[in-house]
């Protein structure tokens, strides 16, 4: 099987697997005895190394169970804190959110909306790139023509309480306008959360330089274990916790800390950052070759922006069923993604593709990683025209 779904989870690095196999039992890092101290040292060592790869201070790194938890902690935590500050009977500022975010973000803010939050949706262009001017307008509460489907109308013109945006589209790979959005957020005094789950390890990114207050990352996207992630929380960010208990990690994330998971995440992140320059150039060339090969095929459209994640080649196929296309490629030995699935396993229509103004087309996300070879890509380029043609003929 040739894996073209590294963006879902990339195989664990050899060094990480070796470290996992060689792992010795660890005590609870919160225990005060010597065994506990040893575990605590492993944990804090990992946090410091991870912080270094993130361009953050170790105190700012809150370890979580992955990207979804990090995003939920960031958005719910920030909005709950804003609600408390607003005081009883007062409406906290709205949440500013682009329409083409990951489901972890969309479902979290829509849940908050049912708890009384106001949402201000920001549109994207045909490449799923967020309209940063509309974003800036939404932060300040100015009515903007391009603020799509703002729920709750334009009644509240108060500044937002929290804003969020992807670093890069997790489906198309299009890079998002971080700089203008972060500048506007800083000017408006609105804490900005960056969803870097799919981007961390794939482009140069230093939390301290972004100007964001919060940033979510996950280990399995860069060759670490599944079930480990982090939320970077700037010291001045005000958050409420999702989990209450022992008060670990600044009281923001109670629960026994996973020292081993943290150390494996740190190891994977260090390796990813060390090989970043070479790998991004190599993968950009390979994904470029795929896109150049399929773009001329009938019914194929490439939606991603010029500035994109190096390891993702995304296309849509008009007049085809994503299920059929995926089946044909799976059968031919290529593991690809045709979009996210619900709990029953049904592929959902991509809201990102729809936000780009495309409907009735099958999305195909081909994502590469460090195990992808030129031979894999050549084989895929050889197989795609037939699979696409056959899926369109059904």
């Amino acid at each position: 099987m040739r894996l073209f779904d590294h963006a879902a989870a990339t195989p664990m690095r050899e060094s990480v697997r070796e470290a996992l196999a060689a792992a010795e039992p660890l005590a609870n890092p919160a225990s005060t005895h010597r065994e506990g101290q040893r575990a605590r040292a492993v944990l804090e060592d990992a946090r410091e190394r991870l912080a270094a790869t993130l361009g953050a201070h170790p105190t700012e790194v809150i370890l979580t169970s992955g990207g979804t938890e990090s995003i939920n902690l960031a958005l719910k935590g920030a909005w709950w804190a804003a609600r408390e500050r607003a005081g009883a009977g007062q409406q906290p500022g709205a949440i500013v959110v682009p329409v083409a975010e990951h489901h972890a973000t969309l479902d979290a803010v829509e849940w908050l909306e049912r708890q009384g939050a106001q949402l201000r949706w920001v549109g994207v262009d045909a490449h799923a790139v967020t309209d940063h001017e509309a974003f800036a307008a939404a932060l300040a509460g100015e009515p903007a023509a391009s603020v799509a489907g703002a729920s709750g109308g334009t009644a509240s013109m108060a500044p937002a309480s929290v804003a969020t945006m992807l670093v890069a589209s997790n489906e198309l790979g299009s890079l998002q306008p971080i700089e203008p959005v972060a500048d506007a957020s800083a000017r408006a005094g609105v804490p900005l959360h960056l969803d870097a789950v799919g981007a961390f390890g794939h482009l140069p990114l230093r939390f301290a330089d972004t100007g964001a207050s919060l940033m979510s990352v996950a280990s399995h996207k860069l060759g670490g274990p599944h079930g480990v992630g982090a939320l970077v929380v700037r010291r001045d960010a005000r958050l409420h916790a999702l989990h209450h208990g022992g008060g670990q990690q600044r009281g923001l994330r109670s629960g026994t800390q996973d020292a081993l998971g943290a150390s494996l995440f740190a190891l994977a992140a260090e390796e990813a950052m060390a090989e970043l320059a070479g790998e991004s150039a190599r993968l950009r060339e390979l994904t470029g070759a795929i896109l150049a090969a399929v773009a001329p095929l009938p019914g194929v459209r490439v939606l991603a922006a010029e500035q994109r994640l190096p390891h993702i080649a995304h296309l849509v196929v008009e007049g085809a069923q994503g299920e059929s296309l995926q089946f044909l490629l799976d059968e031919a030995g290529f593991a690809v993604s045709n979009g996210s699935a619900c709990s029953a396993g049904v592929a959902r229509e991509s809201h990102v593709v729809r936000a780009c103004g495309v409907t009735g087309a099958a999305p195909l996300r081909l994502s590469l990683g460090r195990t992808t070879t030129r031979a894999d890509v050549d084989a895929l380029i050889g197989a795609l025209p037939a699979a696409i043609g056959r899926a369109r003929a059904l």
């Binding site: 995926q326 699935a341 029953a344 396993g345 049904v346 056959r390």
Partner: protein, 376 residues
Amino acid sequence: MLAAMSGGVDSAVAAARAVDAGHEVVGVHLALSRMPGTLRTGSRGCCTVEDAMDARRVADRLGIPFYVWDFSERFHDDVVQDFVDEYAAGRTPNPCLRCNEKIKFEALLDRAIGLGFDRVVTGHYARVEQAPAGPELHRAADWAKDQSYVLGVLTAAQLVHCWFPLAATPTKAEVRAEAAERGFLLAQKPDSHDICFIPDGDTRGFLAERLGADPGEIVDRDGNAVGTHEGVHGYTVGQRRGLSLGVPSPDGRPRFVLEVKPSTRQLVVGPKEALAVSRLAGTRISHAGAPHPALVDGLDVEVQIRAHADPVPAHARMIGEELVIDATEPLTGVATGQSAVLYLGTRVLGQVTIDRTVAADELVRADAAGGREATP
């Protein structure tokens, strides 16, 4: 082969037998509900998260690839909407039959063939014989579980791509035992019944929600008003319960729905014996295999009008475009919209969707008067 896996016992064992027979098998679960996130309650409902998971776990044990394919739009349009439209038109559809016709053995089968599969394997209790003259559909060995009725609508082109590995299984108990032996956790899962897209079993409520209230008169066979109703779509021929009749019947005996007339929003009611139907006719005919040549001039067959009704000896012949079936003994509870499936021994000849029926007493009167047939 593509094994359609509902998450039930039958399709799990059917898939397992296909694997055992040495075929290359891929499992597919059809997501039919537009809200596939719901959990199962009791034996009702299908297409739930649990069903998808149960099917997936069987595929895991069998070591076959498994996919969930979304046919919810097709299912909604071709089965659910058809069900609602048919009731609105005063007919009584069989959604399971429609699902087999339009979804499992059309939408799914077409996609399967297009993707390079030879056959679709399901857990239906029926037998397909791939005879030289074309495929034949037969009843299953276990007549109590026989599902040939709901497959009666399949055509030769569809049957040639079907395989039902449970055809020869003597009893359902044996299938459960086999599932348990194979280590399938779903071995003791209850049989699904009722209509899968009406999980609470309240068909009338389901229809009322979609069709709204449309009150009208209830009349007797002579046209006298005897009551009112909230919409003809809530009623089926042969129904007795749920009729609010202000005027008692002359003889005090219970009355039944004899006819549903959406055009005048009327329900016709009458005594039980008036339900007896001797003649069925319709123009929407399908042949389960090569058409039987004798059907044109007349053939002695058996007719079955519901999934679990007993077959009744009958004479079937073509009159113009219409297939006319005269039963040798009166049938009760026959509604337009139902399928009359014709059998010759164990073999299914095909079916006709019933467009009109002729009551036993009317037919007797018409024949005595020398007319060919009474106008219903």
